[in-house]
Amino acid sequence: MNADPKLRTALTNASGIEQDIFKRKDIAHLFIHHNKIIGLQGVPGLEIDAEELDDGVSLQIVLKKDTLVANPVHMCFGLMHNEGLQRIKMKIHIQDNASMQVLAHCTFPNALNIQHLMDADITIGKHASYSYIERHVHGDHGGITVVPKAKIHLQDHARYKTDFELLKGRVGTIDIDYETICEPYSVLEMNARVNATHNDVVQIKEKGHLNGEHSHGVLLSRVAVRDEATAEVYSELTASAPYARGHVDCKEIVQDNGVVSAIPIVKVNHPKAHITHEASLGSVDSKQLQTLMARGLDEEKATDLIIQGLLR
């Protein structure tokens, strides 16, 4: 491990992480700059094996059976340089009855030509719970390509929630591809919030397979697109067992010359299953806008407030 304190400080500052977490023995953390592990601390029951590769890192994370991690685990994947490739290979196993929340900070404040590729394989055991909140901080240039791919397997009564946020700085190009298989009584919640400007390109592909009886799933996406940016959201939810319940909810606001599309696919393969979906694409709602303008906000400020709310 190369614990360069200056680099770690720069990365945490850019990510908006409080330095205090490094003093706390009860908060686990993992900091990776390019292909170097610059900070690693576990907590009892949480095993993190990290291996540095030529262009990134390979991680094996196991949360032992019955372990409840009280404080969120901070993970930071970043590059302070303006170019480079960072590949993250991640295998995560949350064992039965265990529970953990991860705050993942993906920080590329100076990106001119950066690729951040993540490939994750996640298994969440019976009655276990895993929450992964991924917040991106990018620079103003848009010279970045982010490609996160994940395959998630929820066993009986498992719970998985992911929040993907890319609200600070330029998106660049993002291509999310998450697929989840849900066994009986498991609960899936996948949320994505992205603010795209200039010529950013957003592609979100989320799939949930509600294979087990009483499994529940929600796929929610909120995307704002301005200038020349484009966004395509593909949400697929399949219910194949009795009492499987799901909802797909997509809202995209488009301004200027932006282009948005949403492709919700809902499939029900069992007569006792049920899935709903709603999608709203287009300009800012006229009544919302006029209400704020009637309080004195000009059109631009009113639009910004509405978009900020949508992405919150």
Binding site: G296, L305, Q308
Partner: protein, 248 residues
């Protein structure tokens, strides 16, 4: 001179004459009611005064404090001191009540923003600790949303307020709270126009304009309009064929 003067205002939408040569003066510091049955043109007239989308292509003049405002945008009219409370207010995903209520506070009073927001919510009977971090979304009941709407107007504190059907979708307690706030606003000199077909709301007004078929057919103190409205307009017995006998 009234705070608002309307001269010969007409509006045609899809070849339908919605407003027909409307003339009226709204007096500073008084509560006025614009009363009439559904389809009389009340909300259209208020929307035209606010300059809402679809209601701007009017002929005639709208004056605010003597200045013609026909060509101003909604926000420009708002910054002059006009605002509008919707019958069914918009809901916003993710916008906190404190941000919504505070949105209209002018820059000159930004230093007291937090106090103004709290005070406005309290005036509407909403506990700030409980409400300010909630979103202005579907989780609010219709009555709560109406209270938040009026709180945002109280926080903005403009000289002229139009409230469209302020009693629709709310319970008696909320209506009483709303009436209390309206009287408080009047005391401090705010001019209010209530758009209504409800006698309970009409009774809060000092003056009333009776509107029918796109026309103002009578202007008087509210006490004189109430009996006519009660007798002839509930239910409407002439199908948009105004009969003004007995109003003056």
């Amino acid at each position: 001179m009234g705070i608002v003067e309307i001269h010969d205002l007409s509006l045609t939408i899809n070849e339908n004459n919605i407003l027909k040569h409307v003339n009226l003066d709204i007096w500073t510091g008084h509560i006025h009611a614009l009363v009439g049955t559904n389809g009389a043109g009340k909300s259209t007239l208020a929307s035209s005064i606010m300059g809402l989308e679809g209601y701007r292509e009017v002929t005639g003049d709208i004056l605010f404090n003597g200045e013609r405002i026909n060509d101003l945008t909604i926000d420009e009219r708002a910054r002059k001191g006009i605002t509008f409370g919707w019958q069914e207010p918009a809901r916003y995903e993710g916008i906190r009540i404190s941000d919504f209520v505070g949105a209209g506070i002018p820059s000159s009073r930004q230093k007291q923003k937090e106090h103004i927001i709290n005070d406005s919510l309290q005036q509407m009977g909403l506990n700030p600790d409980e409400y300010q971090n909630r979103s202005v979304d579907q989780t609010l009941s219709g009555g709560e949303r109406k209270k938040v709407e009026l709180a945002s107007i109280v926080a903005m504190d403009p000289p002229f307020i139009m409230l469209d059907e302020p009693d629709s979708g709310i319970d008696v307690g909320t209506l009483e709270k709303m009436a209390e706030v309206i009287q408080k606003l009047k005391k401090k000199g705010t001019t209010i126009l209530l758009i209504t077909h409800s006698l309970a709301v009409l009774r809060q007004a000092d003056h009333a304009f009776l509107m029918c078929d796109g026309r103002i057919i009578e202007k008087s103190v509210a006490a004189k309009i109430i009996p006519y409205f009660e007798k002839n307009c509930i239910p409407c017995d002439h199908k948009n064929m105004p009969d003004t006998e007995g109003t003056s």
